[in-house]
Every structure is written in structure tokens, then in C-alpha cells.
């Protein structure tokens, strides 16, 4: 059995706490159920978004990320996240600063202006990896009280969960297994579909630059999941959730269609299978509605 911390600093980011708090609630509840304590990171900011701030000015992106890392270091805790954007930014910043002492010195000069320092003593984990690798499938299986039998799931990874693999370290980005394992542990079926590994279309400022074009990729992705009989989509990213859930309402006007294809963050899906209610994990408050099949 792998040794793992039983207490983490939860880096909330923006979209989880400020748009989809059900993701935050579901994750905290499940972690608590398995004896993992969550501590709040007082004063944490935007990660900041890797494809956006990393695209506009990486010399600003890096110190803002380093400041967030420093907050967890001061708490002497490892971090967990519920958004691939936060995962991307914080893990990449940590990686770059560890590799380059000159860059670390330059960054700390900025953080020093308000008495903070990045030391390189925390670790950035994705909550879904904590569930899969640390808590483990056996323990998860024991807690499934409402099996998702007969539910066909389209797994969506988002981009920065797996890529770049040299930083993320979860093996091949073309043949992933983590989300598939978590879906199968609930009794649901993991269904392969044409655009499974495709981006949701939102990242890199693309959603902001041209929303209709960005929604079109998402439309193609959803169609390819619906075509093979999927009942819902399960993913690990709050930013993808915003695009995939709210995006379906935004699609109505330009494309004249509302799919109402259910979108669930992985801990919301697991939460339902562990007996939490739709309301407890915030799924009643979003754009796409859950079918009876997922709630029974």
C-alpha cells in the first residue's frame, strides 16, 4: 500500500468555488469519508490559467502561480486540485522552478516584496489521482451503495490532466486508464467514442477569443458520445465542466439545439454512486439535468 498524506491543502482556483461549488462539496465529502482532511488555502488566487496567462505573459503567470504554491508550503501540506487548469499551472510552475535556480531566484525577488518565498517543498496532486492511486479502487468499491449498472459513460479527460506527459507523469496520453477505472468501479460501463481524447474547446483563451467556434468543437465531441449511446460524460476538470455544461445552453442560439447531455465531475459521479443526493453534489443547480437512471 502506497503511503499518502491524510491531510491536504485544497487549491480551489476560480470555477470550482465560484461557479460549480457542487464539485467542491462532493470532493470534500468523499475525501472526508476516506479519512482525508482538507485545509483551506487562505488568500489563494487564480492559478493563473495556464493557456491564458501563460499565453499573454509567462513572466506574470509564473510568480502568481509560485505565490499560490508558497501558501501551501507555509501550511506544510501537499496540494490537491479539482481543475485541470489549476493542475496545469501549479504543477508546471513547480516543475520549472525546481529545474531552474536562476528562475527561482528571480521569482522569489517578486514574492519577497510581500514577504513570501517559494521553496519547492509542496507537491501538486490532482484529486482524481489521489482517489485512484492513494485511496485506491478496492476501498472505493467497498463504499459503492448505489451501483451505476446499465449506465454508459463517456469519459472526457480534458487536456492538462495527461499532457504534457513529461510533467504530469500519468503514462501515455493516448491510452489513459485512470478515469476509466473510476467509472468501472461504480458498475458503470466505460464506452469508447470517436472524439474521446479531444479537447473541450475552451482552453488557451479560445472560448474567449471566439465562443461559437469553441462551442463547435464541443458540439462535435458531444455528438460523438451521444451517437454511441452514452448516458453522460464524466471528467476531472472544472473548466471543462463550465464549457461542457453551460456551453450546452450557449449552443442553443447559434446551433438551434439543446442536447441536455448530462455532465458530471468525477467526484459528483462517484458521490451519487456512494449514496450522496443530486442536491448534495450540486447537480440539481446546473444547466444539464440528470436522468433518473443516474439517480435511482
Amino acid at each position: 500500500m502506497t503511503e499518502y498524506p491524510t491531510e491536504y491543502a485544497y487549491f480551489l482556483g476560480c470555477i470550482t468555488p465560484n461557479r460549480y461549488p457542487g464539485i467542491e462539496a462532493a470532493t470534500k465529502k468523499i475525501f472526508k469519508e476516506f479519512g482525508i482532511e482538507t485545509k483551506e488555502m487562505m488568500g489563494a488566487s487564480c492559478c493563473p490559467a495556464p493557456g491564458v496567462f501563460g499565453s499573454f505573459d509567462m513572466h506574470t503567470w509564473l510568480p502568481v502561480a509560485a505565490r499560490n504554491l508558497a501558501i501551501a508550503e507555509e501550511m506544510d501540506l501537499e496540494i490537491y486540485v479539482t481543475c485541470n487548469g489549476c493542475y496545469g499551472s501549479l504543477q508546471e510552475a513547480d516543475h520549472l522552478l525546481r529545474e531552474n535556480p536562476k528562475l527561482k531566484e528571480k521569482t522569489n525577488k517578486i514574492l519577497g516584496k510581500f514577504g513570501r518565498e517559494y521553496k519547492g517543498t509542496t507537491k501538486v496532486n490532482h484529486s482524481i489521482v489521489v482517489l485512484h492511486d492513494f485511496i485506491g479502487l478496492d476501498k472505493l468499491k467497498e463504499r459503492i451503495t448505489k451501483p451505476m449498472n446499465d449506465v454508459n459513460v463517456a469519459v472526457h479527460y480534458g487536456c492538462h490532466f495527461l499532457k504534457p506527459r513529461e510533467v504530469r507523469g500519468h503514462g501515455s496520453s493516448e491510452t489513459p486508464y485512470i478515469l476509466e477505472d473510476l467509472v468501472k468501479v461504480t458498475g458503470a460501463k466505460d464506452v469508447d467514442y470517436k472524439d474521446k481524447l479531444m479537447c473541450c474547446g475552451a482552453g488557451g483563451g479560445n472560448r474567449t477569443a471566439d465562443s461559437v467556434q469553441s462551442l463547435e468543437w464541443m458540439r462535435q465531441k458531444l455528438v460523438s458520445a451521444i451517437e454511441v449511446g452514452c448516458d453522460c460524460m464524466v471528467h476531472p476538470c472544472a473548466f471543462c465542466h463550465l464549457q461542457l455544461d453551460r456551453g450546452q445552453a450557449e449552443m442553443e442560439k447559434p446551433f438551434g439545439v439543446f442536447f441536455n447531455f448530462p455532465i458530471l465531475f468525477a467526484t459528483q459521479f462517484l458521490g451519487l454512486a456512494m449514496g450522496l443526493s443530486e442536491k448534495e453534489v450540486g447537480l440539481d443547480a446546473q444547466t444539464t439535468k440528470m436522468p433518473e437512471k443516474l439517480l435511482k
Binding site: 457542487g22 488566487s45 499565453s55 510568480p63 528562475l103 516584496k113 475552451a202 479560445n206 474567449t208
Partner: protein, 185 residues
């Protein structure tokens, strides 16, 4: 200002390491990047073309092309490049250079405005506080938006690196300059 290639290595190299970005020179124009690009499937964005344009110093043409901003940074090209070109990081660096020269849309500038005002690209409002209470969470998370002294630290970073000047941010109105007169650029 050197050639675009030199600027990519100098500006991006400080963060990513020069060798990381020098992989651009290895590009053999095979097109595997374009073949797997989800943006290329839907728009005129062509990754292979962008790499070649960067190598032959077509700075203005790249900076003025809207397609430069259609990459979602999905890293598919980066993972698949048979020559190990760090494509996504090359693109992010080119975007940095373009933004520094003023090629940045108002919606993109606004993301910076939100972070400088609240600490968050997606801030919280009263309606979302109710959503939090409905799932049993405290109405406002203890992030930079809630704690003014913490937000000031974030603002200090943006001032120090000159991000505020880059997007024409006005600290008096806490908005982009000229936005009160109907916007600019």
C-alpha cells in the same frame, strides 16, 4: 529586437529553458501537428504553417493572424511531434511576444482586469454565494477575493511585471483605459 526565432529563444527561454524552445529548429514540416489539431479541424489555424512562418521570420503576418489565438493549448501536437518540437510552448511564447506588441483582444485583456480586481479570472457574485450555501459550503471561499491584503499581493505582482501597462489597465477606474468612453482597440 532580433529575428522572431531569436526572440522566441530569448523571451521564452528564460522560463522554459533555451534548449526546450530551440527544438523549433528540428521541425521537418511533416504535418503531424496539423493532422491531430482539434482547432485545425474547425478553423484556418495550421500548426505546421505557423512553425514554418516562425522559422522564416514572418513576424507581422503571424502577429496579425486571428488564428494565432485559436490554439486551445491541448498539447496533442506537443505529445505527437516525431522530432520533439515543444510546439505548444513555442505557440505560447509567440503569443507572449504578440501581446507585448499590443496584439491582444479586449476580451483577452478583460481576463487580466478580473484578476487584478478580484484575484480571480472568474470572480464570485451574490448568486453564486447562494449556490455555495445550497451545498453546505460557506458563502464565500477564503480566497484572494475575500481578503484584501492577499489581493494586494497579487496586484503587486501584476504591477512589478508590467502586466497592467501591457493591457492598458487603469488603476483609478479598475478597468481598461477608455472603457468608460465606450471601449478601445
Amino acid at each position: 529586437m532580433g529575428t522572431l526565432y531569436e526572440d522566441i529563444i530569448d523571451y521564452g527561454g528564460e522560463v522554459f529553458g533555451k534548449e526546450h524552445l530551440e527544438t523549433l529548429r528540428e521541425c521537418v514540416q511533416c504535418g503531424k501537428c496539423t493532422g491531430g489539431c482539434p482547432s485545425g479541424r474547425n478553423t484556418a489555424f495550421r500548426t505546421r504553417k505557423l512553425m514554418q512562418m516562425a522559422l522564416v521570420d514572418m513576424r507581422e503576418e503571424i502577429f496579425n493572424a486571428p488564428e494565432l489565438w485559436f490554439c486551445s493549448t491541448c498539447y496533442t501536437c506537443y505529445e505527437r511531434c516525431p522530432k520533439g518540437v515543444k510546439v505548444t510552448d513555442v505557440i505560447r511564447t509567440i503569443r507572449n511576444l504578440a501581446a507585448k506588441e499590443g496584439h491582444m483582444s479586449v476580451p483577452h485583456r478583460m481576463i487580466g482586469v478580473y484578476v487584478m480586481k478580484t484575484g480571480h479570472a472568474v470572480p464570485i457574485g451574490p448568486a453564486q454565494m447562494e449556490l455555495r450555501e445550497a451545498v453546505g459550503l460557506e458563502s464565500q471561499p477564503p480566497t484572494a477575493q475575500k481578503h484584501k491584503d492577499q489581493l494586494e499581493q497579487v496586484q503587486t505582482i501584476f504591477k512589478t511585471t508590467g502586466y497592467d501597462a501591457m493591457i492598458d489597465f487603469d488603476w483609478d477606474t479598475m478597468n481598461l483605459k477608455g472603457m468608460d468612453k465606450g471601449g478601445k482597440k
